[in-house]
Symmetry: C2
Subunit: 179 residues, 2 copies
């Protein structure tokens, strides 16, 4: 069976913060849970239509080309139900970088080491963003603050571990002939 659609629940959750347009949802998702969740318009608009058809979201016109979406009581109940169900697949399924590291012996000498170096630099930049975000949230007393902090700290933990792994792997790759 195809896995349960998760876009619906990300939308329901974001609408507990405040009513929004489709475009606003996309912005809000990128701004708050963007470090571990992504939505594209190709998912959002069909999901909003489906949620409205099920009565989990209500839609109110704002202007000629603009609609505001609001979560209903049934929507809240459905969100609460889903929040208690175990995540379907916790594992990250594919890492293109690790695939390249695994087959590095067949690459141009030094090529994969360059990719790992770039990966480390990306993580270092992400680490800075996370640090700023963490300070920002910690100094703000919103009701979702502690949970938001927990998700950011997950990002920090993963990024820190990834930076350490990159350094170690670079030593391995360069030691054995600059691969």
């Amino acid at each position: 069976m195809a896995k349960e659609a998760t876009t619906r629940y990300a939308v329901l959750g974001m609408l507990t913060l405040e009513p929004m347009t489709g475009y606003g949802l996309r912005e809000a998702i990128a701004g708050t849970i963007g470090h571990f969740w992504h939505e594209s318009f190709g998912q959002l608009y069909p999901a909003l239509r489906a949620l409205e058809a099920e009565g989990l979201v209500s839609t109110h016109p704002l202007g000629p080309r603009s609609r505001e979406h609001r979560i209903t009581d049934r929507g809240r109940a459905e969100l609460r139900r889903w929040l208690g169900t175990p995540p379907s697949s916790a594992a990250a399924h594919r890492s293109e970088l690790l695939l390249k590291v695994f087959f590095a012996r067949h690459a141009e000498p030094g090529a994969v080491a360059g990719l790992v170096r770039a990966h480390r630099d990306t993580l270092v930049a992400a680490r800075e963003r996370y640090g700023g975000l963490e300070r920002e949230i910690a100094s703000d007393a919103s009701p979702d603050g502690p949970h938001w902090l927990a998700t950011v700290r997950h990002g920090i933990a993963m990024v820190d571990a990834g930076i350490a792994w990159s350094e170690e792997t670079l030593r391995t790759l360069t030691a054995e002939g600059a691969r």
Copy 2:
């Protein structure tokens, strides 16, 4: 544009180890790079057909219902090219667990903490498997050994960081009213 198909390169890479059938490929992938890569038959068989049509893989009948696939020189060249290109999306896009942690305020009390606990237990079990795998690879002198080790150590680094995060988050969630 839709992202470049990566299944092709996982297949090409695995066929550098030895020639295999479609089924054998699936087994080999699960057994060696399964901790960070997944392939389903729905991807494998079409990919093998496409690779053969492009001359990157050659196919030889083994029995009436069995075919062996072999990487060609052009296949090796194409693999080498790809190994040098930067990974298209390094970030893990969606974490259902983090989404649930973020919206935990709207769940049944204690429900999300239970999910985090289950997540930690999964990671602890994975950590044991990784440890065994690491010892196994370290004691074996295959040419791909060091690279294989690097990918396993990535798994260990992530799992260790995840376990620490789970413990910390459980303290947060239970402290504020068993959510």
